[in-house]
Symmetry: C2
Subunit: 431 residues, 2 copies
């Protein structure tokens, strides 16, 4: 067994949301995979590199199911507004003016840094100039399901909407099988910005290439009315009628999904990403998460963009989701901590169609793991993994390993010059 990296003397949470926690153990990593984990009695003696995990907890890195990484540029640009005003009066004009390959590249680097430093090791991203997001993630060391945006309007990098599917096809060609960190995909923005033909063609392309299709759907109450038609009484019904739903389609938001919509999603085994903070901040509403989980839907948790959140901290997203779903209708047992730990790791990975084991420390899984400093005041004393949801431990993330490579160590990002990235983003923000 060739061990590239060995983490010793740490507590271990191999499958978040499930017991047991190993109090003092090790993780052996080789060729980008988890080779084995166990208690320290069985720890291998030799490895190419060793990290002393004393006082730390090793767990799988978090999986952020939905992001528009480059939108960190618009973080805090326009708060306390509804989605329509926010989008049409602030974000769309800013995007029209500001989005180019350079902006996407630098802002995606900043977003990748922010996610890694707060314990996220995989993100599903959807934007324009998505090549630049993929490039930024490869350089920074973040795993990314990178989805090229498709719109029936002139979009950044795709001036002619008639070529939107072609642009997505070229993007997939360029990235399929190219880098272990990148899974290319397609992101049809929404049923109200993509016509029937575009949605159908995008899904055909996704099926042909074997890649996931992402789509914002049922985000706001208004959308329901905009999409309504005799044969498709709801946005999700509309997607079903177009034969868009299958297990490689990821429906983002689904706030205004009723029982019939959830039945449709379940019947087609389509996946869902819920973004509770973004939906709350924009007052779009609260997704029926309990009903989704009761139906056995594959669900991931997403931050959405930093412009509507305004952070990319998935630990905070877990905490918010738990509390939001308990408070009304009043049920303190709803969406318990262990369920959110699952959604934020292997449950989310399954929703995104990633390989089995992704989001766990089970041997054979991709070696994406984080080390959390359990000696920080907010994690004292340690009564169990629920603290990871309720105590806001993002700042306690000390080390991050992605694909077997050490990316963050002692809270420092090792892969890129963060100071330069921040300076570039500040420059772009002033333009």
């Amino acid at each position: 067994m060739n061990i590239d990296l060995l983490v010793t003397d740490c507590a271990l949470l191999p499958v978040p949301g499930r017991e047991p926690l190993i109090e003092c153990g090790y993780v052996a990593v080789g060729a980008g995979r988890i080779l084995e984990t166990g208690s320290m009695d069985a720890c291998p003696a030799a490895a190419a590199a060793i990290i002393d995990g004393q006082g730390q907890l090793a767990m799988p890195g978090l999986v952020n199911g939905h992001c528009h990484a480059p939108m960190v540029l618009f973080r805090g640009l326009a708060d306390d507004l509804d989605l329509a005003t926010w989008l049409h009066d602030h974000i769309f004009p800013a995007e029209a003016r500001r989005v180019d390959a350079e902006m996407v590249y630098w802002c995606a680097r900043l977003a990748a840094a922010e996610m890694l430093l707060s314990g996220t090791t995989t993100v599903a991203d959807g934007y324009f100039f998505e090549d630049e997001v993929a490039r930024a993630c490869v350089e920074t060391g973040l795993r990314c399901v990178a989805a090229q945006g498709v719109l029936d309007f002139p979009a950044p990098g795709v001036g002619d909407p008639a070529r939107n599917i072609e642009a997505a096809a070229r993007f997939i060609e360029r990235w399929q099988g190219r880098d272990p960190l990148i899974t290319p995909a397609i992101f049809t923005h929404a049923p109200y910005t993509c016509g029937r033909r575009t949605l159908r063609r995008a899904k055909e392309l996704a099926r042909t290439c074997g890649v996931p299709l992402f789509v914002h759907v049922a985000e706001t109450r208004n959308e329901r009315e905009q999409i309504a038609e005799p044969l498709a009484p709801s946005p999700i019904g509309h997607l079903a009628a177009l034969d868009l739903l299958d297990r490689d389609t990821v429906c983002v938001h689904c706030v205004w999904a009723d029982d019939r919509d959830l039945d449709l999603l379940a019947a087609h085994d389509a996946a869902v990403v819920t973004c509770p903070q973004s939906n709350a901040k924009l007052a779009s509403g609260r997704a029926p998460l309990t009903a989704m989980l009761d139906r056995g839907l594959r669900v991931a948790l997403g931050t959405d963009s930093a412009a509507s959140n305004n952070s990319l901290d998935l630990f905070r997203e877990m905490d918010f989701a738990a509390k939001l779903h308990k408070v009304r209708p009043s049920d303190p047992t709803a969406v318990p901590a262990r369920q959110l730990l699952r959604l934020a790791t292997w449950g989310g990975a399954a929703a995104l169609g990633l390989e089995s084991g992704h989001g766990t420390l089970v041997p054979g899984a991709p070696a994406d793991l984080i080390l959390i400093d359990r000696n920080q005041p907010r994690l004292q004393p340690w009564h169990g993994p629920d603290l990871l949801v309720y105590s806001g431990p993002a700042a306690c993330v000390r080390s991050v390993i992605v694909n077997g490579r050490l990316i963050v160590h002692e809270r420092r990002l090792l892969t890129i010059d963060l100071r330069e990235t921040c300076a570039q983003v500040r420059r772009l923000a002033l333009e």
Copy 2:
């Protein structure tokens, strides 16, 4: 002008929630007070000590309106349960077994450290053995309105309920005028744990001594039924009927306050503390915060204890409050960021009856301020102070000054041995 401490070259937010932000300024501190602030052109040349604030934002430290600091021992002990089960099956038994002077002292030290490191400089605390909380705060350097608990049951340190008011009186005697960091107060636990006579006597004592009275009230739906009687149809009505409401009474929670209750609070100018995360996690409900603010009530924001939150990070509380009150009924403009910045600083201080200016950087105010590293990824780029609410900046707090004294510098606590404190709390947790 004798300047003890001068912070230079920082951005300044002198009165959170109000413009303007000074882009490059200074803060001069002397004798525990803010002496002056201004732009760098007018910066004094000499000071006993200088902190280079480059890349940082200086703002008043946060005011946590409600806490039971020693309960950090029970952080994560029992999650995802309703208030009655949580309290009667887990917390009360744990308290009966575990609470003594030693536990209160060490756990309050840990809580004080956690609050200071996340930017809180004043806390209103209520517990038993409150002398130990006050002592821990003085040693750690946190400002504290320390309220001795009063119950009509045998309580930690007060075995005979007949002596509960006497114990509170002795506590106030010991602390009034003793240390600039400590304001003694009384904490009558709740209308369902304190009888009429006790509530009346506690308020008489508070009035005689000129100290605030805290009380949990209208936290759960059940409480309404428990307290109901012909003359007082609600818990808040009950307090009013007992003549407990005045501007030195702080009503904590008020989740189940109806319009009549809010009118009563307003008529008596009684203050409110809202604890949205605790109320959500225990599924107690959501306080009518918008209605409270519309009536001009003095409102503070509190974390409640780490056992029902599970962190003491007031930045996170702001963010949660903003989103919770936007999502339902759907209003993205409700409780905007600037309003929360006010509640978490000078608005909260006013609710607690602290001196005018407390929670600002206005000359003459207590020198309680924090420096936030604006170069951290999650605060990039800087579009304005709303980011302080929506981007979770607790981990970006680099320096903390309380009463003119540097308590946290470069994210390190200078006052106590944090490692020893954590070890003591871990030992207590295992007992």
